[in-house]
Structures are given as structure tokens and as C-alpha cells.
């Protein structure tokens, strides 16, 4: 097999960080990630000793629990060539915030830096590291892509998902207005400040509706659940899916929040 893209490894061993939301709510995204990674030439392992990246604690100011969770993640994943997560938010936590958390820690700093260098968000990993091209799925319909905040601003993910989506046969990508504006999810923010969160997501669903698309896509399940839940409460019929589900062609089951 030919070495691919950025990596000199013929078959890099990827540890899949499933993310808690995908694990709990939408395994289909996890399986889509596995399929895409395998198609791109990776060997995929899913360590059982994973729960969450620690963001709920981290963003609530609880550094002690965050550290404990981070140590657990690093221990479970540092042996892989790459660590890949189907979420910009969780990947940014592992890649950008773990090093901040352990900065100046004699025991953990270097270990964390080495770990962080291996971490990638799924779509950007496929595109930038594996130079993945072989999208052989079809999708008949018009979609729009929402840039989730962490992926966009902490990891620079914007061009990669669009590039891969444009290779899906039959798919028409139509940009909504301000795709880079927050959907109002913000983790615990959406329940702590539900009134404000609602005002923000209302603006988002209005721009989604104005784009006149069949489906809304994004790379983060938290944002997707927020937007899907709002669209459905408003009685809108736009379907909502994770970008990996479309790229992997795993579209048989119901879309997010859709009835069986």
C-alpha cells in the first residue's frame, strides 16, 4: 500500500475518541467515522476506557476533575499513532486545552504535548493528514454546512468538510448566511442560560430556513442536537445529520431527532 498524505505510516493506527455525545446519542456517527478512517487506510481501535473529554468540568471551573479525566484520556490514547474525534470541540479540548491544563507540570507537560500533537478532528484528519479523496457515495439533495465554533476557530476547520462534501455525487452545497456564527449551544450554557441560548438558536434556524436546503450538516453533535431540537420544535422539516454520516453514506437510519 502506498504511503498516504502527511503520514509516512502505511497503515497508521488510529485511536477513535468517540466523544460522549456520539457514544450516548448517535452511534451511527461513530461507525461512520470508523468506516471513513478504514477507507482512508487506517487501522482503528476504540479504547473502552473513554468517557468524555472533560469539557463540562473544565468549562465549569473544576480543574481537579478535568485533570483526572484528561490523565485518563492521555493514558488510554497516547500509544496510538493518531487520536481522532468526530467533533471539533472535543478534539480542540484534547489538542489545545490539555496542554494548557498541564503547562508547567513536570510529570505531565511533555507527555501531554506529545499526546496533543497526535490529536485531530475527523474530517480535517481525513483531508489534511490522510489526503483522503475516495468519496464514492451519493446523496441527492441540497445541504448547508454550519461551522461549529471550536472546530472553526481553534482548529481552523472550514475548507476541509466543504471540499469533501463537494465530492459526494448528487450533493449540492448551499451556504447559509453567517455559517460561522455560534448556534447558541455552548455546552452547559444552553441549559444555564436557556433564554439567551434560545434567542441565538432562533436566529440560526432562521438562516437555515432561508438557505432552502433539505439537510443541515455540521461536525459537532452538540450543535447538531441543539439546532435539530429547535428546528423540530419550530415544526421545520429540514433534516439534520453529522457530516461524517453523509461522507460515509450511512443514511439508512432516521436523521437526528427524526422518528423511526
Amino acid at each position: 500500500m502506498q504511503p498516504k498524505g502527511d503520514t509516512l505510516l502505511t497503515q497508521p493506527h488510529v485511536g477513535l475518541f468517540v466523544t460522549c455525545l456520539v457514544d450516548l446519542f448517535r452511534p451511527n456517527i461513530g461507525f461512520s467515522a470508523v468506516e471513513l478512517l478504514e477507507k482512508a487506510g487506517c487501522q482503528v481501535t476504540v479504547p473502552p476506557a473513554q468517557t468524555c473529554c472533560g469539557q463540562p468540568a473544565y468549562n465549569s471551573g473544576d480543574r481537579a476533575n478535568t485533570r483526572a479525566i484528561a490523565e485518563q484520556v492521555i493514558e488510554a490514547f497516547e500509544k496510538f499513532d493518531y487520536v481522532v474525534a468526530p467533533s471539533g470541540s472535543c478534539a480542540a479540548m484534547l489538542k489545545k486545552h490539555y496542554p494548557e491544563l498541564f503547562a508547567g507540570d513536570a510529570q505531565w507537560e511533555e507527555r501531554t504535548t506529545n499526546f496533543a500533537a497526535k490529536v485531530f478532528e475527523l474530517v480535517s484528519f481525513l483531508s489534511d493528514v490522510m489526503f483522503f479523496q475516495e468519496i464514492d457515495v451519493t446523496f441527492q439533495g441540497r445541504v448547508t454546512y454550519h461551522d461549529s465554533c471550536s472546530g472553526l476557530r481553534e482548529l481552523g476547520i472550514a475548507r476541509q468538510p466543504r471540499k469533501l462534501l463537494q465530492q459526494v455525487e448528487g450533493l449540492e452545497l448551499k451556504e447559509m448566511e453567517n455559517p460561522d456564527v455560534c448556534c447558541g449551544f455552548g455546552g452547559t450554557f444552553c441549559v444555564k442560560y436557556s433564554d439567551i441560548s434560545n434567542a441565538i438558536v432562533e436566529k440560526k434556524t432562521a438562516t437555515i430556513e432561508a438557505a432552502e436546503v433539505d439537510m443541515l450538516l455540521a461536525g459537532d453533535l452538540g450543535c447538531l442536537m441543539n439546532m435539530a431540537g429547535k428546528l423540530q420544535r419550530e415544526g421545520k422539516t429540514t433534516k439534520v445529520r453529522h457530516v461524517a454520516e453523509v461522507l460515509a453514506g450511512r443514511l439508512d437510519g432516521p436523521a437526528i431527532g427524526e422518528g423511526k
Partner: protein, 474 residues
């Protein structure tokens, strides 16, 4: 000024219900974002300038004492006075003393956030001295007896029609049938009314965008020219500035000026950039007889050397709030004190205490748009998180939230038990949702389901399905 920051949540709910405010807020989104982007795109070195601006301020903050002393020396050399004010009260008393000495009856004011921070208007009024705001936005909110809702556009929450009403109610000496429908006619009227006040004032108070250590100069940037009239016509000019406004040299300032207006309003430069060094000299054709600088600390030196030091780089351009989804939703008054938006969410707890200001750093989605546009590259979300940490350390966040977090973390640290619990919980949720695929009500989840449905889980967890698949493989 009464601090209503602890009531941020209810302030926000009121703001969301206020249709007039919501209409006015839509102008923030329309007015600032594209203009900033165009200005930034048009300048190839914009990103480099941001780096330089950050480095200049970082350097200054690490030698704050030296530059402040050098600045004081230069101000004195040029015939001016420097007054060190540790607290807001100190600053108010210093201003009052200066006003009393010249028997001031009226004081004109250029736009100054420090004057809001120390509440100088109410104070002077209580002492029988009339303060007159001369910036159009500030003038409007003074008539309305309101606080600014934005640091560079203080009346951004007010609609044109409301200004017309206010002017008609206040300027009763003008003909009733005058036309006030256009912004220009409103501006003309304010200008006419203010002209005589400029001439009559005994003291002029301005803020400062920068203080220059090299020359002892204070700088204001304005678009209306009111600042110039405020500081040159009266006998006495008082500059109200917080001490982190200090910048080493003119060269340094000229770099930061290049990112300031571009970030704020999308202008290359503000219309007026006014440099003031000391009082009028014999050869000068105009200028004040006395030049005073009140240097306010009010908690800022406590931030030096802490994880909040970066906040002192802020040059008050307002880009963070212009790009903030929370600010767009609720406007500036909901924040409950002087500084709104992301910069206010960091500064308010720094200056008033986290027990009062703690709501603000929590009310963020951490979308990071503020940091992405901050010309000084201030890591605003990171500092909001630091405030959450301080709050958590001091057990200041709500008990239910702490309990929930503890409960969750206990499981998150125990993958096997977590997996088991997740399996049961997700199965339960899936059963509750039935074939509908979503829940419109969820136990303990009203914060979510009040406004949106909850997408139901597939049923089994990924880990569960993955484990089953692995068994099948072998």
C-alpha cells in the same frame, strides 16, 4: 451607579422581551461586522500589526511602574499635573477639587468610559456642578438618564424615533414644527444646542485612548470633534484615564492606532486623533490654562501578575461585543455595570469582585469570535474560564450545578460504571421517546426542552454496539 450584574439573568430575560431594544440591536450586527472585515482585509499587514500591538502592550505592562513614572515626569515638565487615584472615590474627589478651585458651574465632557466607571456625572450634579455630555450618543443617553450600552456606541440601544422624542421633550425652546426625521437634522440640533455650552463651560473633561510616556501626551480619538472643543475651550482640561492606557512611545501608539479604528468601526482612522501635551503655552493660540491628568487604578494593579493581566491590553474598540452572540441577544444594559460584552465579562468581576460579576463570565458559549477579532489578541474565553475557576474554588456557583457536576465527574472517571449507567440511561430515554425520535419534555432537562426538542438516543450506546461487533468478529 447601581450594579445590577448579579441580576444578569433576569436583566437578559427583560432585554429579550423588549422589542424596541431588539430592533436597535439588529443594527449592531449589521453595522460593525462587515465594515471591520473590509478594513482588515484591505490592510495586508493587519495581522502583523495585531501581533505588534499585543507585544507593545505586554512589554508596557511588564514595566508599568517605570513607564507611569516617566509619563508623570513628562506631564509635569510640560506644565501639567498628574493625580494618582487609587479608587473611584479618590478620582471623584480630585475632579471636584479641581472644579471647586476654579469655581466651575458647568463642565463639558468628551466621551470617557472612566467617567462612567467612577460615576462622575451624578457626583458632580450632587455637588451643584452641571456635567454636559458632548458626544452625540452620550448626550442622548444623558437626556434619557441612562447608562451607555456599548463602549464606543453608547446609544446603540436607542432608535432614531426615540431620539426625536427626547429632543422634542428637552429642547422646548425650538419651534415645534421643525423636521427631525433625518439623523442629520438630529445631529444639527444637538450641535446647535451644545455650541453655547462649549463656550460657557469652566472645565472640560475628556478620557484618553492612550497616554504616551515618552512625551507626557494624552490622546483621544473621536468622530465628532466634540472632544477637541471640550478640551481647548474651557480654562481647565481634566483627563480621566486608567493607568493601563500608558504606552511607551509615539511610534508604539501609531502602530496600535492602526488597529483601533479598523477593529472598532472599520474606519482606517477615526476622524479626529487629538494629541494633548500640557496646558496652553505662550505661543499657542488656544488651549486650557490648566491641564490635569487623573490616573485611576480602581483594581487594575491587582490584575497585574495574575492570569487576568492580558485584559489590561484592552484598547476599548468594542469589536468583541460587536461580534458576540450573547451581546447581540441581550444588549449592553443587561450586563449591569459599565462594561458589557466579552471584555466586560472579564473586566467586571476583576474590578467589582467575582461575587458581584460572576454571572458574566458564565454567560458565554465560548464561541471564540471575540478572541478572533480582538486587535490586542486578548484570550477572552480563556479568562472567562479563569473566572469560573475562581468561582468554583470559592463554592460560589449554584448548589444544584455543583452537585450535578460532581455526580457526572464521579462516573466520567470510572469508564466501566459510566458505560453501564450510560447503557441504562440511554435505553430509558429511547423508550420514553418511542417512535417519535425526540422528546419534548425530559426529566431534569427543562433548560433544554423549554425551547427545543431533545433528539432521542438511538437506543444502544456506541461502546455497547462496538463491543458486540468485536465479539462477532472473533
Amino acid at each position: 451607579m447601581k450594579i445590577t450584574t448579579p441580576e444578569f439573568k433576569s436583566n437578559a430575560v427583560e432585554a429579550l422581551k423588549n422589542q424596541t431594544l431588539q430592533k436597535a440591536l439588529s443594527h449592531v450586527e449589521e453595522g460593525f461586522i462587515d465594515k471591520r472585515q473590509m478594513a482588515a482585509d484591505a490592510l495586508p499587514e493587519f495581522e502583523t500589526l495585531r501581533d505588534n500591538a499585543r507585544d507593545i502592550k505586554n512589554h508596557t505592562l511588564s514595566h508599568l511602574d517605570l513607564y507611569l513614572e516617566a509619563y508623570e515626569e513628562k506631564v509635569i515638565e510640560s506644565g501639567g499635573h498628574v493625580h494618582w487615584a487609587q479608587t473611584a472615590e479618590d478620582a471623584r474627589n480630585i475632579v471636584l477639587d479641581i472644579c471647586r478651585k476654579v469655581g466651575a458651574k458647568t463642565v463639558t465632557k468628551g466621551k470617557s468610559m472612566i467617567s462612567e466607571e467612577i460615576g462622575i456625572n451624578d457626583f458632580l450634579e450632587g455637588e451643584g456642578i452641571e456635567p454636559i455630555e458632548t458626544d452625540l450618543g452620550e448626550y442622548i443617553i444623558q437626556l434619557r438618564n441612562e447608562a451607555p450600552s456599548h463602549i464606543i456606541a453608547p446609544a446603540v440601544h436607542v432608535l432614531k424615533e426615540q431620539v426625536e422624542e427626547d429632543f422634542r421633550a428637552t429642547h422646548t425652546h425650538l419651534p415645534e414644527d421643525r423636521n427631525l426625521e433625518e439623523p442629520e437634522t438630529l445631529l444639527d440640533e444637538a450641535r446647535t444646542v451644545l455650541r453655547q455650552k462649549f463656550l460657557d463651560a469652566d472645565v472640560g473633561i475628556t478620557g484618553a485612548n492612550f497616554l504616551i510616556a515618552e512625551t507626557g501626551t494624552s490622546i483621544i480619538v473621536t468622530n465628532e470633534g466634540n472632544g477637541d472643543l471640550t478640551q481647548t475651550l474651557p480654562k481647565v482640561h481634566i483627563v480621566l484615564a486608567s493607568l493601563e492606557k500608558i504606552t511607551p512611545t509615539l511610534e508604539d501608539v501609531s502602530q496600535i492606532l492602526r488597529v483601533l479604528a479598523r477593529s472598532a468601526t472599520g474606519q482606517d482612522m477615526s476622524v479626529y486623533t487629538t494629541f494633548s501635551t500640557g496646558p496652553r503655552r505662550e505661543s499657542d493660540v488656544d488651549g486650557p490654562e490648566e491641564y490635569h491628568v487623573v490616573l485611576l487604578d480602581n483594581g487594575r494593579t491587582n490584575m497585574v501578575g495574575t492570569e487576568f493581566q492580558d485584559m489590561l491590553r484592552c484598547i476599548r474598540c468594542g469589536a468583541c461585543m460587536n461580534h458576540c452572540p450573547v451581546y447581540h441577544a441581550v444588549g449592553g444594559h443587561a450586563y449591569g455595570w459599565v462594561y458589557p460584552g466579552p471584555m466586560g465579562a472579564v473586566l467586571t468581576p476583576s474590578l467589582t469582585g467575582v461575587d458581584k460579576g460572576g454571572q458574566l463570565p458564565n454567560a458565554s458559549t465560548f464561541c471564540g469570535r471575540c478572541e478572533a477579532v480582538c486587535p490586542m489578541r486578548i484570550p477572552l474565553p480563556k479568562m472567562m474560564r479563569h473566572w469560573r475557576e475562581r468561582e468554583f474554588e470559592r463554592n460560589l456557583n449554584p448548589t444544584a450545578q455543583r452537585f450535578g457536576l460532581k455526580f457526572w465527574a464521579w462516573f466520567a472517571k470510572r469508564p466501566r460504571l459510566y458505560g453501564l449507567g450510560a447503557k441504562i440511561a440511554m435505553r430509558g430515554l429511547a423508550i420514553m421517546a418511542g417512535s417519535k425520535g425526540r422528546l419534548s419534555f425530559m426529566p431534569l432537562g427543562r433548560g433544554w426542552t423549554k425551547y427545543r426538542d431533545m433528539p432521542a438516543p438511538e437506543g444502544k450506546t456506541f461502546q455497547q454496539m462496538w463491543a458486540e461487533k468485536q465479539v462477532g468478529k472473533t
